[in-house]
């Protein structure tokens, strides 16, 4: 460790206490990756502030030294967004895990960034409410990370993604200043600044108090599982359900590979392993409307060629179906040591074609592709399995990933649905954004963080943004 970093660690220990600074090289290794371990970076040190004022003091100190930093929650992100490369310091927010208030009559809660998504859901349930965004990693991921990535989840189809559930934010800027965005009772001033912050991937500052919207637990929930003998047929069923104007609470697809993997895990849910694909359709709301929607969705599935359609009879059975779906990503280690999960969206009408193109890309590059995704949102997650020790296979993964992105963009989609850009998607930004678009993004970022110290090197490709400034005559 250099003298500068020893001095820095001592200064940070002066703020948070010695127990909450990590500097030993071996410990730093455990923070070198998030949920996408194909990217790695070792931070200069890790600091665990315990309160908003400690975050503020830490960032002010780093700012004074010109040291960059990266905020990290549980490290379940899937785009390498929470990686810090020395001299950057990793600001880990797991200690800030308090639920500050649950305001049941006004259906909102105030939480610290380190609160785990599932913990908030559980606490809300105690008062008959519900935090709707439910990323598959919700048992582990934190609300702070959800805000940074504008996280989605199966039930965001009906309820909207994270940004639709964030009312107000207390944010510590890169210079340590605390600002308040949005308000619990409506936007206090013109533009939606809280909305602007959500999805900024840690490049605007650190959210230290988050006011979220809670929704009532729906009186009726019904879930069906339909199996198909062809992936295309399942894709067509999705397109038709959406085209009919049905808004399911969730509409998810898993292909044969995903089914097999889940069924060999502790989360086996009884999915039919001989199916080419299954659709998981859930509707919620008032009894009559739900019954009608589910009946219609079931009929559409059958018309599209579904074999059996099975309904969850109990809450426990429904939970099992969902656990299988949500843990599928984590179960991918059963088929290979290394994994790259892609994240792209396409118009739902394009799903059947795009799924076939993705399968074709996998075949052409001799890669196993596993699909488990938010079909109702048109949010694809092709998982590419590979062995990182095989350089040829690694190269094929890179080419196939780009081809998949190109297919999605060509179909009218875009390069990320919910995982963010981080470091992994930077290379695809040019598929959807020109230099002027990127320049605007860079300028907005600069408005929040003129120093550029917050999560440097993420989202915007290096050198791609045209310098932002007064319009010059062309």
């Amino acid at each position: 460790m250099t003298h500068t970093s020893i001095a820095l660690a001592e200064e940070l220990a002066g703020i948070v206490g010695e127990r909450f600074v990590r500097t030993r090289p071996t410990e730093l290794l455990t923070f070198a990756a998030d949920g996408l371990p194909t990217h790695r970076a070792v931070p200069a040190c890790v600091v665990f502030p315990g309160s908003a004022s400690e975050v503020s003091a830490v960032l002010a100190r780093l700012h004074a030294r010109g040291t960059p930093f990266v905020a990290r929650g549980a490290g379940t992100g899937l785009s390498g967004g929470a990686l810090a490369e020395a001299p950057a310091v990793l600001v880990t927010l797991t200690r800030m895990g308090r639920i500050l208030a649950v305001d049941a009559p006004n259906r909102r809660a105030v939480v610290e960034p380190g609160v785990v998504n599932a913990t908030l859901a559980r606490e809300a349930a105690r008062v008959g409410l519900h935090y709707a965004p439910d990323p598959s990693s919700q048992s582990a991921c934190t609300i702070g990370g959800n805000v940074a990535e504008n996280a989605g989840g199966p039930h965001c189809l009906k309820y909207g993604v994270t940004t639709n559930h964030i009312l107000a934010l207390e944010v510590v800027r890169a210079d340590g200043e605390r600002v308040h965005l949005g308000s619990a009772s409506g936007e206090p001033w013109g533009p939606d600044l809280a909305g602007l912050f959500v999805g900024s991937e840690g490049t605007f500052g650190v959210a230290t108090a988050i006011t979220v919207r809670l929704v009532p637990v729906p009186p009726t929930v019904r879930t069906i599982l339909a199996d198909f003998t062809a992936l295309r047929a399942a894709g067509e069923a999705v397109s038709r359900i959406i085209a009919e104007g049905i808004v399911p609470a969730a509409l998810e697809m898993m292909d044969r590979s995903a089914i097999g993997i889940v069924e060999s895990s502790v989360y086996a849910a009884g999915y039919p392993t001989d199916a080419a694909a299954v659709l998981l359709v859930e509707c919620d709301g008032r009894e009559g409307a739900v019954a009608a929607d589910i009946a219609r969705a079931e009929a559409i599935c059958r018309e599209a060629g579904a074999g059996t359609v099975r309904a969850a009879r109990t809450a426990a059975e429904r939970e099992r179906l969902w656990q299988g779906r949500k843990k599928a990503f984590g179960a991918m280690g059963r088929i290979s040591a290394d994994l790259l999960v892609q994240d792209a969206t396409v118009p739902r009408s394009a799903l059947p074609d795009v799924l076939e193109r993705v399968a074709e890309i996998g075949r052409r590059h001799a890669l196993r592709v596993t699909n488990v995704f938010h079909a109702g949102d048109g949010n694809l997650h092709p998982n590419l399995s590979f062995d990182a020790a095989d350089p040829d296979e690694l190269a094929r993964v890179a080419v196939a990933s780009r081809e998949i992105m190109e297919v999605c963009v060509a179909a009218g989609g875009t390069i990320t649905g919910e995982h963010g850009v981080g470091v992994d998607k930077k290379k695809y930004m040019d598929l959807v954004f020109g230099p002027d678009d990127l320049a605007l993004m860079d300028a907005v970022r600069g408005a929040f963080d003129p120093s550029g110290l917050a999560n440097p090197g993420k989202v915007i490709p290096d050198g791609a943004a045209r310098p932002w400034g007064p319009w010059s005559p062309a």
């Binding site: 090289p25 071996t26 455990t30 070198a32 490290g75 880990t92 843990k327 280690g333």
Partner: protein
């Protein structure tokens, strides 16, 4: 155990194990999480971190070995054998603290333990350790904590008027009549099972062995005593001494094959059960490998044996009971429903839910003595959940858990009693 690290290959770094880990819950530091420890173990395997690295051993030693991460891992990462392998590599270059080395030495031979257990039971019988520890608080000095643990092994005084067996463990195993003398309507035994006695179980929980023998008897299983059996080796394996663990395993295989060939082996200790069931892997490269596999396949937790047979209906026991699942039963052996089935079969017994019943209590073998601070932090939510449950009795089938929760409750001045499920079943049979 060289293949142990290969069991980590399935980890895709998803992080779904983080919330299951009691030490991560206590410290919220990735290095104290299963995923972080897997990174450390991989670094050790690849030589990126030397085995004598301070940070490496600090975080790996703080692992409870509860294996709750394995129960939630979608990819089926085999964490337990890897952490034992890592410990072995660390201990090879950085020996255990003298107290641990001495403890493992004592437990390795029954003869070395007799005096210690005798003295402990004598001290326990005076009631002085319990009196000193009661309400002393969780920050009490280590000696008081140990007194509390000893006091937690005291046989139940419920059901006054009927003398409970005051077991002196191994000194008089043959005096246990098959079926138990007080057992109601004991049928003629139609099968036998060899009782695994263990070290701590036999030294301080003779009354649980007695209850086990009686409850098995009521259900038509005659318990066979096996002489020359030794400690299962679990503590040695967790303590980075696979050599010692394998020596003990070999002795047990030979002893049980000699005295009770082909007979099911029944244990009432979750920790021992998990170890005994792993003998096949422990002795995979040993001349005894085949016999070790066969031995492991015969091992059953007492709750498995009883539920498989279909329980003879017990008498009434009007108690509010919370079940706390020992990690080495629930996560390591995946025996999850049988102890609950037993408790549910007792008329009058009200089974109350215990939040976090599948989470470690912080006992973890010698952990509570080696890492007292973190052990206490892990225990704290357990004690809070017990208080909330309103239970009269916490039932748990492992000596370490009985002592840890019992001691914690005693130090906190809580009124709750901590018992092995089989003790409650036995009590119900004797009503």
């Amino acid at each position: 155990m060289t293949a142990a690290f290969a069991g980590l290959d399935a980890c895709v770094h998803c992080g779904f194990c983080l919330p299951a880990c009691p030490t991560y819950e206590a410290t919220l530091d990735e290095s104290d999480s299963p995923r972080g420890r897997i990174v450390l173990m991989r670094a050790l395997e690849r030589g990126e971190a030397p085995a004598d690295d301070d940070a490496l051993s600090w975080h790996l030693d703080r692992c409870l070995g509860c294996r709750a991460c394995e129960s939630v891992c979608p990819s089926g990462v085999s964490y337990g054998p890897a952490i034992e392998e890592a410990r072995a590599r660390i201990v090879a270059v950085r020996p255990n603290p003298p107290a641990v080395t001495a403890g493992l030495w004592v437990l390795a031979r029954p003869a070395r333990q007799r005096l210690a257990w005798w003295a402990s039971r004598l001290a326990r019988a005076t009631g002085i350790p319990a009196a000193l520890a009661r309400g002393a608080g969780d920050k009490a000095p280590l000696l008081l904590q140990m007194f509390a643990m000893l006091a937690a092994t005291t046989p139940s005084r419920r059901r006054t008027g009927t003398p409970t067996h005051r077991s002196r463990g191994r000194e008089r195993p043959d005096r246990h009549a098959p079926g138990g003398t007080e057992a109601t309507a004991a049928p003629a035994p139609d099968t036998t099972a060899a009782l695994f006695r263990g070290c701590v179980m036999d030294g301080l929980f003779g009354h649980v062995h007695d209850a086990t023998i009686r409850a098995l008897g009521v259900n038509g299983v005659r318990a066979v005593e096996v002489r020359r059996q030794v400690c299962c080796g679990a503590l040695a394996a967790h303590g980075g001494r696979p050599d010692l663990a394998r020596t003990l395993a070999r002795e047990n295989v030979l002893a049980f094959d000699a005295a009770a060939p082909g007979v099911p082996i029944v244990t009432n200790s979750a920790g021992c059960g998990a170890a005994l069931k792993a003998y096949g892997e422990w002795l995979a490269d040993d001349p005894l490998a085949e016999r070790a596999h066969a031995f492991a396949a015969r091992v059953r937790d007492v709750s498995e044996v009883l539920v498989e047979r279909g329980l003879v209906r017990p008498g009434r026991l009007p108690l509010r009971v919370a079940y706390d699942a020992p990690c080495h039963l629930h996560h390591a052996q995946r025996v999850t429903t049988q102890p609950l089935d037993i408790l549910a079969a007792i008329p009058g017994l009200e089974l109350v839910p215990l939040e976090g019943a599948d989470r470690c209590c912080g006992s973890a073998g010698l952990y509570s003595l080696v890492e007292p601070e973190l052990s206490r932090d892990v225990l704290a939510p357990k004690l809070r959940a017990i208080a909330v449950s309103g239970a009269d009795v916490v039932a748990t089938g492992n000596p370490g858990c009985l002592m840890q929760i019992g001691a914690g409750a005693l130090l906190a001045g809580m009124e709750v009693e901590v018992r092995h499920p089989v003790e409650l079943l036995d009590l119900a049979y004797r009503q």
